[in-house]
Amino acid sequence: MNALSGELWPYVVLALVGFLPNEIWRALGFFAARGLDEGSEMLVWVRAVATAVLAAVIAKLTIFAPGALAGVPLALRLAAVGCGVLAFHAVRRSVLAGVAIGEIVLIGGAYLLSP
């Protein structure tokens, strides 16, 4: 018990509340994938669910922002996302252009707005 309350304890916590609750989903996906083939129609639906989940995560991170990002006004966060997507389409579907312009609008806008 001494080892658990000492130096090892943070690693036990990492395994129990960080690794396991996250890895369980990968494990479930691993076992569920066993019966599926690449051409299966079910995969079209699963991929659509995965895409919608990611979209929901993205919208949540932008609108209900964590930490320091919450200090940037919501309107500016949305404007930065919009400019990023426009830049992506304008510059030959370049992900780099989208990210760069989005970041410039966000950081530049927040800098101008700060007193």
């Binding site: 996250n22 990968r26 659509a48 669910v49 995965a50 929901a56 922002a65 990002l69 996302v81």
Partner: protein, 238 residues
């Protein structure tokens, strides 16, 4: 892309990782995570190990900030578990595309652990160009390339922590939604994927706003299913 051996395919994956914008986005994101861990007094070894074992940015942000704030362990576990739901459909849609006639079940354990948004997006985009028997090695290479970038940044962020201005931290946190949105837009060529993207963007925050539990999971199932129904209706009308 053709590869002589699995080793060559692995290195090809590492190369693809470093040529993609995600290696740099992850670098920025994990500088933020390293700095966060430093601010909450975790050790460098602990946060580096969390990058290898958890390997999911949002989950690590939740884990570090909730543990650091002294939340009960069961609450932290539940919050991390909810954020990890997205990994299930990602693993489930990726692994069948890596399977060839020679692939053993245990060959897929590492790709399953390596699955994260960045690796999933790049793997789904690139594997159609890779021969089936090289896909596992190639995807492990992509993820290893990303993990190297993330680990390096975790260490760097840990040491830079006190020197990062607030505005830069906000910019680092913004990297994740911005890069994922444009890269998923790039990957969404088929109608079903575009519908799923648009529906998830709308339904997700609506459910969060309405304080519905498991909001992300329901947004995924509802948005994905509606998109699939739209796709089937178009197939029938053709």
């Amino acid at each position: 892309m053709q590869f002589e051996s699995s080793g060559a395919a692995f290195l090809g994956g590492v190369r693809a990782a470093w040529l993609s914008v995600f290696a740099y986005v992850l670098f920025g994101t994990y500088i933020g995570i390293g700095a966060l861990a430093h601010d909450f007094n975790f050790s460098l070894a602990w946060v580096a190990l969390s990058t290898i074992l958890v390997w999911a940015g949002p989950a690590q942000v939740i884990l570090i900030s909730a543990l650091g704030a002294g939340s009960p362990l069961i609450e932290v576990a539940i919050a991390v578990g909810l954020s990890g739901v997205r990994l299930l459909p990602m693993v489930l849609s990726l692994l069948p595309r890596l399977k060839g006639p020679q692939t053993r079940a245990r060959d897929l354990v590492l790709p399953a652990h390596f699955t994260a948004i960045s690796m999933w997006v790049e793997s789904m985009r690139l594997i159609p160009t890779i021969p089936v028997e090289r896909r596992v090695a190639f995807c492990n290479g992509i993820a290893s390339g990303y993990m190297m970038s993330a680990l390096l940044a975790t260490v760097l962020g840990y040491y830079l922590a006190a020197k990062l201005p607030n505005l830069l931290t906000a910019g680092l946190l913004f990297l994740t939604p911005m890069s994922f949105l444009v890269s998923i837009t790039r990957n969404s060529v088929l109608l079903v994927d575009r519908l799923a993207l648009a529906l998830g963007l709308v339904i997700g925050p609506a459910l969060t706003y309405a304080a519905v539990g498991l909001d992300i999971l329901w947004a995924g199932i509802a948005g994905g299913t509606l998109a699939y129904v739209g796709h089937r209706i178009r197939e029938v009308l053709r």
